[in-house]
Symmetry: C2
Subunit: 668 residues, 2 copies
């Protein structure tokens, strides 16, 4: 009568399990965590009737074949909870199971009968019977103790001793340990959790063009020059250094300065037009140096605690070796030419996109994977992927999994500025971090709505935002017109709203603000098409300010995650206020930013002190880590004023424990 | 290289489909609809890049092997939509599929190139090539027309004619009709929709004890007496008549009047203590009559448009034949006796619950199913199931599916007053309707919160609430103290908040309000334990009022569903206001109820006239269908006043089209 099964091993498994979290799209994708995290698992578990239900969490690393377990605890309304610590990189699986606990049910009811003064003679026998039926499943060592309990319940001693035995916690503990799981219900799915290294969640990125690293004006920078910039990057507190593509650059249809259709002699072309006679995605531009130079740079960066991130732009210049060797990987036009990239009527004749519908798609996928593995073999563990949304999304899911199966610590940042559904899918299918719309979110309402969405499930479970105030492609209007204060404010926002953030420098710290033309977001004389010689040590540079903000990020664990982000009312729309706390609620940071780069703004911020665990009847200290001021506040409403020409933001550390005059020092 | 598949038929299917609705727990359960409904399907569909995506909805009745289809239309943000009408009882399935539309992409881009004045010589050839590659898939009849288009694009005519041909809607239409689905992506699930008859959604229930149907005081009523009550029930406008169990009642441990532990001679016992020497769940209590009487009653009820609903209480009195024949179906105590029902320390010795963990569970399930099929064979198509949450939930899922496979028009009402998770699960697993917490929701805030939850997805997709102001088990305190106005008000609320509602009568319409003891919700001299002789024609009866409310329900389609329910602000917490509209938005009802049964209450109700489609600058008529008053209102805020001693509620029909003096009649 197998048709009775209805998806269950047996009709006698009366417990039902649903709504197991965390999950992304019902287990189709994996929520993201980092090594050391505690994964809080919840589930709705119930059965017909009133019997006691018992359950446990099962969890394992994907390489383990046996489950580790942990007891589930009951919350309210049939919700149950347990947690496990993810102590290794890579995918973990978990599920839950539960069953009717017949002995616990009996013991609960027995207690009620005793309390009501009922005759429990037969009930004692029922208890003994449950124990005895159980014995065959109990290890020999524990059996005699349980037998003794059963005998006591069956008689031969005073009734009061019987009752005492029946309600003994030792008996309860033993029966729980060897509980009867014959009719267990296990949740039908093993849910995945993807575990990355901590840098996946908390990272601070710096991007520069390696060819602009020379101190000799007009000279093509080299990887050796880049090595010499490492102290500069490290001093500012960045831990990821990201380079635009370092490969040979195509010559045919090469773009000139400011994206001119025709290059002039000496024009270096766009690094994203990858491939020339010197090689393609696995080669290094000869003017930058050799693979040995690259290896030396990698080693040096590591010594500074810096991960070198490469740019993965899966597209080809017309003279990329692939074009000749694998013409099948590109779409051909009726005149025999290869289809270049377009956004009609715009044409990008220096770029050939791959045809992911090619008949030879499997070899194409394998080759692209081999590019990632090649650089993985060179020790690269961070990739910034250029426009992943214009390549097959299914390819990425496969390729990222393949690379992480070899190098599980690899981090992939998706540079996709596109519709929410596509950005979400890229994050779900495996990208470790994602560029966001932050670059275009400037007002209090925009920031509040967008970051509330990003900091809460479902989005926070699968997408790790990486906030960039600028990129080589985007000089936002706000930066064009806001002056130095705008750069400071946008960096504070990026660095405190986002556990991961990044800037494109030195353009950023030097406050470069001139667009190619009015209304454009493109930089004038963009480094995308020419070499720059920067005044890295300019006295007007924001590098010390950025170093201070990054030091605050490192010293305050509250800023290293996003899930506790909460906005707080300020009675001035030009002032935005928010807080972040560590998971244990001990370390908190309150940030107030003046969104107006031109005027001093002031107002009252209202903080939920009770939820912060701060006594609202006593004064407490708000210590501004950025301006170094210390403010004595009382109650939930307090005054803030920010002059953007001095500092457009406060980053307050909140102290929970108020000290009193009986202590030696005030608020130190 | 099959490991590349990543859950897709081919890596070349670039379209991704997610978030297909309606669904309940990702297709594990079926959303509920009734015959004739339009099912609105939405999905998120997208691909990498910028190609045009095309998709369609596929749907079929579960007995059909081929899909019917309908084109998907694009909404915003990658959302797509299509709908289908469910024209038959039983489960329907639907899914969606989508693919890159290469020709539509080409045509869109071609148009942009033409607009930009570009040379399109090669682009015309690309278009022709796409058409020609396509021809083998096109039926011969349509092929020549397409060939002609291809030739035009290839040349031999003026460029302007070529362009005209390329952009021809006929060509677009043909290429759409025979679109290239080689790399189609189909959503991985076929989602179910359960389709019931309209009574499943819109039903008005009346419950009475058949043994109380005699007009001779103290005499046991019969099914023949019940027949004579049918006009009474029909006149009030009820379409379901529900009887507590009609089976033989156990004699051992029979309960006396007012639930006395020992019955006195002549006490009739509780109908829920099912089974005696005369038979069990398939037998009729001899004092009620014979199976022939039952059949006659069924026929007569049908002639009144009334469905007879039987009570399914799967439990046994100690003298039920099952106890002797199938002792394995019950739990045995160590003293050899059978375990009676308990809620320790309370004992219900007149009831033996089935043991759903019995070794013989499969035969138990089959026998219980046979009870349902037995009454199904007698024409019963509505079952009210007693305490389904104390029996295996998996059993119900199986049993309901089994019964509906034979009698698909069957309706099951779950009488489960328990935790939300369990009530929701019963609805999801197959119960057609559900009792609700309405009985205990009396204040404006309670009603607003609860019914907003019930009227919105996810709950509205799987749970059909059936609202009862009273039951034989529940005489709510509000009715005990609110007098006649409380009964009127609670019926209006049940009948307008719920597309399905019911009362236990004649206790309800006779305003019986005395509990067994203060603080109890049990009726004094409850019919559960004794026969009543009612004064059905009492002049104080609310039967005419109820008939009026039920007539309004029948005449106003807006009241026959819950999904458009919306609450509206009234500046008096004792007045609650809400509206319902038909799906097409033409027929609307606004209800205002005075929740205070003791005092006249007045206030201003605020209606969203723009959303109602009512011109807020002209006056409009609010026609009270209950009190028959006609109010001329202007603008969104209007005054209401209700004296509970006259009528505690308005049920306004809203007229959208304002008539003017140029018409013959005002607001008729």
């Amino acid at each position: 009568m197998s048709h009775i099964a209805v998806g269950h091993a047996t009709g006698r498994s009366r417990v039902l399990i649903e709504d197991v979290t965390p999950q992304v799209d019902q287990g189709r994708f994996a929520p993201k965590r980092v090594v050391g995290d505690t994964v809080n698992v919840q589930s709705r578990i119930f059965a017909d009737g009133h019997d006691v239900v018992t359950g446990r969490l099962l969890f394992r690393h994907h390489t383990e074949s046996t489950w580790r377990t942990s007891d589930l605890h009951s919350l309210t309304n049939d919700k149950w909870q347990a947690s496990f610590v993810v102590d290794r990189l890579g995918c973990h699986f978990f599920t839950v199971e539960a069953w009717i606990d017949r002995f616990a049910t009996w013991q609960r009811d027995f207690q009620k009968r005793v309390k009501a003064g009922q005759d429990v003679a037969i009930d004692l026998l029922v208890g003994a019977q449950i124990i005895r039926e159980h014995l065959p499943q109990v290890p020999e060592l524990a059996r005699s103790a349980l037998e003794l309990f059963a005998s006591s319940l069956e008689g031969g001693v005073e009734r009061s001793s019987q009752i005492e035995a029946a309600l003994s916690p030792v008996l309860a503990e033993q029966m729980h340990q060897y509980t009867d799981r014959r009719h267990v219900t296990r949740f039908e799915q093993e849910l995945p959790v993807e575990v990355d290294r901590p840098l996946a969640r908390f990272s601070t990125w710096y991007e520069f063009f390696p060819r602009s690293s020379s101190s000799v004006p007009g000279q093509h920078g080299t990887l050796a020059d880049c090595e010499r910039k490492l102290p500069y990057v490290a001093d500012m507190g960045f831990d990821v250094l990201y380079f635009p593509p370092i490969h040979p650059i195509g010559r045919s249809y090469r773009k000139g300065r400011n994206n001119a259709v025709e290059a002039q002699p000496g024009d270096v072309g766009s690094p994203w037009a990858i491939g020339a006679t010197e090689g393609g995605h696995k080669a290094i531009h000869p003017d930058l140096g050799t693979i040995e130079d690259f290896r030396r740079l990698m080693t040096k960066a590591k010594s500074f605690g810096i991960d070198l991130a490469l740019d993965i732009a899966f597209q080809c210049a017309p003279d990329h070796p692939y074009v000749a060797c694998h013409p099948d990987w590109f779409r051909r036009r009726p005149d025999g030419s290869i289809q270049y990239a377009e956004n009609p009527p715009k044409k990008y004749q220096d770029i050939y996109p791959f045809d992911f519908e090619s008949d030879d798609w499997q070899n194409l996928w394998e080759e692209l994977k081999s590019v990632l593995l090649f650089w993985g073999g060179e020790g690269v563990r961070v990739f910034r992927v250029d426009n992943p949304h214009t390549k097959s999304l299914t390819f990425w899911e496969w390729a990222i999994a393949e690379v992480k199966s070899v190098y599980p610590e690899t981090i992939f940042l998706a540079e996709a500025f596109t519709r929410p559904a596509v950005m979400h899918r890229l994050a779900k299918l495996g990208f470790t971090q994602s560029y966001t719309y932050f670059t275009w979110r400037n007002t209090k309402q925009e920031l509040t709505e967008y970051f509330t969405e990003l900091a809460r499930p479902p989005v926070s479970d699968f997408m790790r935002p990486n906030l960039w105030p600028n990129t080589p492609d985007i000089l936002n209007e706000f930066l064009q017109f806001g002056g130095r204060a705008a750069f400071m404010m946008r960096y504070v926002l990026a660095a405190t709203l986002g556990a991961s953030c990044g800037i494109y420098g030195p353009a950023f710290e030097l406050c470069v603000a001139t667009p190619r033309e009015p209304g454009s977001e493109e930089y004038l004389d963009s480094e995308k098409y020419q070499i720059h010689t920067w005044d890295w040590q300019s006295p007007g540079s924001l590098r010390h300010f950025i170093a201070r903000v990054n030091a605050i990020r490192r010293e305050n664990a509250a800023l290293q995650d996003n899930v506790t982000l909460r906005f707080h009312p300020v009675d001035n729309d030009q002032l935005i206020g928010f807080s972040k706390w560590t998971a244990d609620g001990t370390d908190g940071v309150v940030v107030v930013v003046n969104l107006d780069p031109h005027h001093t703004q002031s107002g009252f911020i209202e903080l939920p002190l009770v939820e912060f665990g701060i006594d609202s009847t006593h004064s407490f200290q708000a210590h501004d880590l950025l301006g170094a001021g210390r403010y004595l506040w009382t109650g939930p409403r307090n005054f803030v004023e920010l002059n953007p020409q001095v500092s457009p933001a406060h980053i307050f550390r909140m102290r929970k424990q108020v000290r009193t005059e009986s202590q030696f020092e005030y608020f130190l």
